[in-house]
Structure formats: C-alpha cells, structure tokens
C-alpha cells in the first residue's frame, strides 16, 4: 500500500541554488503547477488512507503511516485558499523532509498529480505580482515562467510556521 512509484534523487553536485538554476519536482495542485526543491523530496506515494487528527489545523489535519513512522499529511490547497475536490487517480503524496521548529521532520504533501523533475533557471524567475494575486504573498518563495506556464515555489517554512503559531491545535468541547 505504501509502494513508491518513483524516487527522484538528484545527482550529486546538482542540488538547488547553483547558477544553472534550481532542480525541482513539479506537481499539480488544483489546476496550478507547483514545485518543490528536489533535494527535499524523499518519496512519492500513492494515496493511502489518512487518519484525521481532531483539533489539528485544517491544512495538516491528518497523519499517515510512512514506513512505520507517523507523519503529518498536509493539504496545501487549503493554505492557498483552494477548494477541495475528489482525488483523481493521479493524486499522489509527496513526502519531503524539512526543518520544523529546529527539528528535521518528514511531512507528506497531497498533490493532484506529480509531473517531472526539472531545472528552473534563474532567468525565468519572476517577482510575485503585487496585485492580482489571490494568495498570501509570504507563502510564495518564487514564481517561475516556463513554457508559458507559471510554476509556483511555495515557502513551506512560512506556511508551517503559520501553522505552529496559528490559532488551531486546540480542542473545544462542543456543547
């Protein structure tokens, strides 16, 4: 059930931030193209049943079993104000490793489908538009234009920092 379909591992020496550009894994999210730094990606999983964590913030509201470890599953659609729709057969979970509150943590990200590992060149980098954006600007690390498509590089640190300090995470007994 937790079989991985692919495990993109960047070649040594080509990790992100070089002058050539940034190596990323691109994926679909509610009709938009998003990207994650390839070096952070651990594994890509088929959708598996997730366990809802009552009281958790809405965009990390469940846990999954990743190789015997319990890791949170995050739905970035909710961080970007997108509506939830049914999972298509292409939906996948991308497991990434990132520091949260000083600890290296595994986090699963729900996607509508994984595309490819590609290099985003700095030349294609565009500043986020100051107007006309529905999303919180601090949630976006960079925008890239490639093949007439916008690719969004989300700022996961900012997103999860908001979760850690956010109002969620407390249960109120419903009377």
């Amino acid at each position: 059930m937790t079989e991985s379909t692919t495990t993109p591992r960047p070649q040594p020496g080509t990790d992100g931030g070089t002058s050539a550009g940034l190596e990323v894994l691109t994926f679909d999210l509610h009709g938009e193209v998003f990207a994650l730094e390839a070096t952070t990606v651990q594994e890509i999983l088929d959708m598996i049943p997730a366990t809802r964590v009552p009281g958790a913030d809405h965009f990390v509201e469940s846990d999954i079993n990743f190789r015997g470890r319990v890791i949170p599953l995050s739905d970035l659609r909710l961080a970007f104000g997108m509506t939830r729709s049914r999972n298509s057969p292409e939906a996948r979970i991308v497991v990434i490793e990132m520091p949260i509150a000083g600890e290296t943590t595994l986090v699963g990200l729900r996607t509508d489908g994984v595309r490819e590992v590609t290099t985003l060149s700095d030349a294609c980098r565009e500043p986020p538009p100051s107007v006309g954006m529905r999303w919180r600007p601090d949630y976006i690390r960079a925008l890239f234009r490639q093949d007439d498509e916008f690719i969004v590089l989300p700022d996961l640190d900012a997103i999860f920092a908001a979760d850690l300090s956010g109002p969620g995470g407390r249960l109120r007994p419903a009377n």
Partner: protein, 652 residues
C-alpha cells in the same frame, strides 16, 4: 566513519568525574578512609594522564594541582579535611568546563581563583606540603632504573608517559638502556626492548616515584637508589628527549591500564537503540498484520509460520526492552552532589540515603525523571527539612534525613523521596489555597484532597521564595511530567515527622497495552492502565444528558465527555453508545465512544512537531491494517472533564 578520539576521551572523562565526585562526597563523610583518598587520587591521575594524551593540556595542567593535593593527602603530609575535599570538588566543575569547552574565555582566571581557594584550604588544614612540586631544590634526588616486560606496549603501557611524569617531579636526566636490544633481524617492533636509567633531582619523596609506576607496579622491574647529597651529577648518556618511541610504534593511544580491562560491556549510542526499537516496533506491527491474514485463511502452514513469527517477535521485543533498561543508580548518583550543594546553600545538615539503586528502568523514563526528582529533592530540603536548631528543639537529630528509594512492583517502578522534616502544615496549605482561589473558605476537603492541592498550577507554600524552589513553577510541572510517563504521584505527610512522595512509573514507555475504540470513523487507543471499566450508556441517560454530562456510578457522579462531539466527527452516533471510564488516581471521567473494539498491544510513536500542540493525544500507533490510530492523553481528558464538572457546578 571513525569515532573522534576526543569524543572517546570525553566519555571516559565523564565517568572519571563521576567517580571522583562520588569519591570526594564519600570522603567528606568519612575523612579517615584511605581507600577513598586513593580512589580519588587514581581518578585525578588518570584524568590528567588521558587529558594530556588527547591534547587537553589546560585540563592536564589544572588537574595536576588537584592530583598533587591528593597525593599529599595520600602520603599523610596533609590531614584530610572536608574543606580540602570541598575545594577539590569545586575544582571538578572547572575541569568539566575544560573538557567541554577548552579555551573558553576567562577559564584561566577562574582556574587561578579555584587554585587559590584550594591553597587556602590546604593552609587551613596545616599542610606540610606545598601545593605544587615546583622547581624542586637540587641537591638530593633519586637514581632509578626500570624496565618493563617486552609485551607491555601491546598491553597498553606507554613508557614515554612514565618518563614525562618523572620529569614533572624535577630535573631529570634520562638514559636509555639498550643492552637488551636484539639484532635488527630479530627485532619485533611490537615489543619493548629498552630500559631506562633516570637521574632525578627532586625533593619529592620516594612515594612520589612509586606513584608514577602505580599502574605498572606488578610488572615493572624498578630499582631506586637515593642520590648522594653532594651533587656532581654522575655522567649519564645522552638525553632521550620526547622522541619517537624507540620501537617505532605509532603514538600509542593506550597510555594506561584501562585498555587492559576485560571488555564486558559494549557502549552503544542511544540513538542506535532507539532506531532498533523502532524496527522492532515495526516488526511487531508487521507480525500482527501477518497474523490477521493468516487467521483469515484456511492455510495451516501459513498459520504455523505466523505463530512462530509471533513468538519470535514477542521475544525480540522483550529482549529489546531489557537492552533499554538502565539501573536507577545512574539517576540517584547525581543527587549526592545536589544534596551536598543544597546543604551548603541552606546551611542545613543533610544525610542522603539511597536504596534499590539496582532497580532497572527504561532509559527514556530515567532521562525524563531527572528533572522532577531534582525538584522534589530540592523541595524536601528547602520546605521539608528544618534548620539544625529547629530540629534540636523538636528532639530530632541535627542532620535532616532524605531517603531515595526505588523498587519494582509488577510492571511499575516505585520511586520514593522521604524526608524526616517538618511535614506539610495543613493550615498553611489551606490558607494558601484559599488565597489562590483554589478552594472556597469553609469548603470541606479530605486530607488527601487537601494535599493534592499542592499539585495545582501556581501553588507554592513557601512563605519566602528562595533561590532553590518555590517559584510557583513546580509541583504541577512535576505531576504533568510523571503523568506524561503514564505514572502517578502520591503524597503522604505527617506534621512534625516528615513527608513521603511516591512516584509510580511504568517500566517502559515504548509499548503499552491499549483499548482500541471507534469514534465516528476514527479509531483511537486508550491506555489500558487508565481504564477502570466499560459500560453501555443507558439510553435514557444518553437522552437526558444532552444538557448535563454526568452519570451516577456507584453513588458517585462521574462527568463524561462525548468524544464524537469533542472530535467533531460529523457522523450519526451509533444507537448504543459505550462509555469507557478512565481515571488518574482519584479523578474519573467517562469517555463516550461509538464502539469498543478490544485490546491492542500499542507501539507508541510520537506525533510530529506540527501536531505537538494538540494536548488531547499523547502519541499515535500503527494498527494491524497499516493505518494510524491516535492515543488519547487520559490525564488531559480527565482535566478537561474536571473543568467541565466545575463549570457545571457553578452554573447549577
């Protein structure tokens, strides 16, 4: 990946420090004990030697002074006083610092201050010996010849270190005695063929020279003659300076006898044990999945294998648990130093007794118990024990007694902290509780309930806040920590006679027995240890209780929480709701669930940082089908239930 040799030294140093500190503390109780003086001396000696070998020069230099002091004590030049032992104990902290962060700013000055204190203590003790064997007056001295057996380097002796130590005693001329050197073709480079002749000009007594050879005493062939006072230095051969070892063996990392100790223990980094525990946990889960598949099929061979696997994985788990067990003595050992310091700070005389140190507990439990225990011992000293004059007036011995004991009972270990102090003043406790608004004036409380108030957040009976305790962060934190280990805390106190705090902690925190329940579509685990009973919530109770959430259970009102509401499942309740009554000590609360599934051996996994703020769950586990189930934090839910009860009472 080769381990950092200095890391090896640090680990060794930590053990030496413990040994030295324990020795010093024992010595302060028993000043005439020569054995202890020798033990401390050996510890300091090894520390200095190993420190110098691994390049901790500042440490070696500083430790040298303490070593010299103990050398003087050992030889009877200086009487042993608690004052001197205390000064060396103080110096130990500085040695720690020199190991942890050599070269930190201000270290030298601090070291000098400590040495001055040590010197002063020695003078008060009427020391005959100078603190240091400084440039010894020439004139007298010793001539010694020594040779070591050929295999001694293979056994870890470094003759160069011996020569260096001799040089420390005074002006030394060293000549190598090569008479035993075999011809080149017969030379075994691993063997030692060289002897030495040393002419040492020093005022140090012969015992000082014996000390140099203390670790090789059994094997060395040593002859010592005193030099004639009239000093025409006898012509000796060319100096053998700190050159390469004559046999060409590379810088020998084993300069003392510790390597020759039989290796009965294996030192394993704690993370590796944790990793292994994780693997074993996964194996247990995989096994339970296999078991489910095997049971569902009519396949006898498969079932046989599954049962075999179950037995093996169970045994592996038990073995793993034992591996993680460490004796409580590792925890209790720290308290001797703490009590010593506390006695110093408070001016109270304290005797610390410990028993049951060999009781073994999971290492995670030990680590997490350290802080609460420190707090409890501080409390006992600060609030419990009276001053010597008060004790005298009460007809007690002037030294207060604190006893730490550990005992295993079934799957739990019970740790007690007992003092023979003044006990808890109920009237003051009550006054303080009323002041803090925890109880109403005149509210009837049993003695047990009254004592429990101590564990309320923000409660402190200390009339004056001292530097030790009573800052109002205290017993509630202790209680919470103990509960997070799924343990409980009991307090008994007799005014005028003392108090006893008993901590009951499960032996392990890695795997628990759990009760698996279903709430809506989610499955949850309730720690079995907290479950008192399961019952069906009667239909009329269920309906009647829409407004108030209480059920009468054997003459007592028990508040209950509907987990379906709490977790906002958004599902229709099952027609026959079940209630699991859980408790922490005296407080109970009912948890209403849709279905009770059954027992479940639960391997505890921690929740991710992103979910760490959710207090309702203490962790998660992986079920037989691979899905995740959350583990309820009973202490938190009971507290929530109590709040609910209090709210209901107010509105009633």
């Amino acid at each position: 990946m080769t381990p950092d040799p200095t890391e090896t030294f640090r680990i060794e140093a930590a053990e030496l420090f413990e040994q030295i500190e324990q020795g010093l503390l024992d010595l302060m109780q028993d000043l005439d004990n020569r054995e202890l003086v020798n033990a401390v001396f050996r510890g300091l000696h090894t520390l200095k030697g190993s420190g110098a070998m691994f390049g901790f020069d500042a440490l070696a230099a500083f430790t040298h002074h303490c070593e010299s002091t103990f050398d003087a004590l050992r030889r009877g030049d200086t009487p042993v006083t608690a004052d001197v032992a205390g000064a060396v104990l103080g110096a130990c902290d500085h040695m720690h610092a020199l190991v942890d962060a050599p070269g930190a700013p201000g270290q030298e000055e601090h070291g000098a201050t400590l040495l001055a204190a040590l010197r002063a203590a020695l003078e008060r003790a009427g020391s005959a010996a100078p603190l240091e064997h400084m440039s010894a007056p020439t004139g007298t001295g010793w001539r010694l010849r020594f040779s070591l057996p050929p295999d001694s380097m293979a056994n870890g002796t470094n003759p160069l270190a011996l020569l260096t130590e001799l040089r420390d005693l005074g002006e030394a001329r060293v000549r190598a005695d090569l008479s035993a050197l075999p011809p080149l073709e017969a030379l075994d480079p691993m063997q030692l063929h060289v002897g030495w002749e040393v002419e040492l000009r020093t005022s140090a007594p012969r015992a000082a020279i014996d000390d140099v050879f203390i670790f090789v005493m059994d094997t060395v062939d040593l002859r010592i003659d005193s030099l004639p006072p009239a000093d025409q230095p006898a012509p000796v051969g060319p100096d053998v300076a700190l050159g390469p070892a004559p046999t060409g063996s590379p810088a020998d990392p084993a300069a003392d006898s510790r390597w020759s100790r039989p290796a009965e223990n294996v030192r394993v980094p704690a993370e590796r044990l944790d990793e292994m525990m994780d693997r074993v946990g996964e194996l247990v889960i995989a096994q339970s999945r296999l078991g489910q598949v095997a049971t569902a099929r009519d396949d006898l061979p498969l079932r046989a294998i599954s049962e075999e696997m179950e037995r093996l994985s169970g045994e592996l788990r038990d073995t793993m648990m034992v591996l993680r067990m460490v004796p409580v003595s590792t925890l209790f050992g720290r308290f001797r130093r703490l009590v010593h310091d506390l006695a110093h700070e408070t001016g109270k005389a304290i005797e610390l007794a410990t028993d049951g140190e060999n009781t073994e507990v999971d290492k995670t439990v030990i680590e997490r118990l350290a802080d609460p225990l420190v707090h409890l011992v501080r409390n006992a000293v600060d609030h419990g024990l009276e001053s010597p004059s008060e004790r005298g007036a009460a007809g007690k011995s002037s030294a207060g007694r604190i006893r730490l004991s550990a005992r295993q009972e079934g799957g739990e270990v019970i740790i007690r902290i007992i003092d023979d102090g003044r006990g808890i003043d109920r009237a003051r406790l009550r006054a303080r509780a009323e002041e803090a608004g925890l109880v109403l004036p005149g509210q009837a409380l049993s003695d047990g309930e009254l004592l429990q108030l101590i564990f309320q957040p923000g409660f402190s009976t200390a009339a004056a806040v001292t530097s030790l305790s009573g800052r109002g962060v205290g017993m509630d934190v202790v209680k919470r920590t103990i509960e997070s280990l799924r343990g409980s805390i009991d307090l008994r106190s007799t005014p005028g006679e003392g108090s006893e705090i008993a901590l009951r902690i499960p032996l392990t925190v890695a795997i628990i027995g759990g009760l698996l329940v279903r709430v809506g579509e989610g499955r949850y685990v309730i720690p079995l240890a907290a479950v008192e009973e399961c019952l069906e919530l009667p239909l009329e109770q269920d309906r009647r209780s829409q407004g108030r959430a209480f059920i009468s259970l054997r003459e007592r009102l028990v508040p209950f929480l509907r987990l379906r509401d709490l977790f906002a499942t958004g599902t229709e309740p099952d027609p026959h709701q079940k209630m699991v009554v859980v408790s922490t000590g005296t407080e109970r609360v009912g948890l209403v669930v849709d279905q009770i599934i059954g027992n479940h051996q639960t391997v505890i996994k921690s929740l991710s940082r992103l979910h760490a703020g959710i207090e309702t769950f203490s962790g998660a586990t992986i079920l037989g089908d691979g899905s995740v189930a959350l583990i309820l934090d009973v202490a938190h839910l009971v507290a929530a239930g109590q709040q609910e009860e209090a709210r209901m009472r107010r509105t009633a």
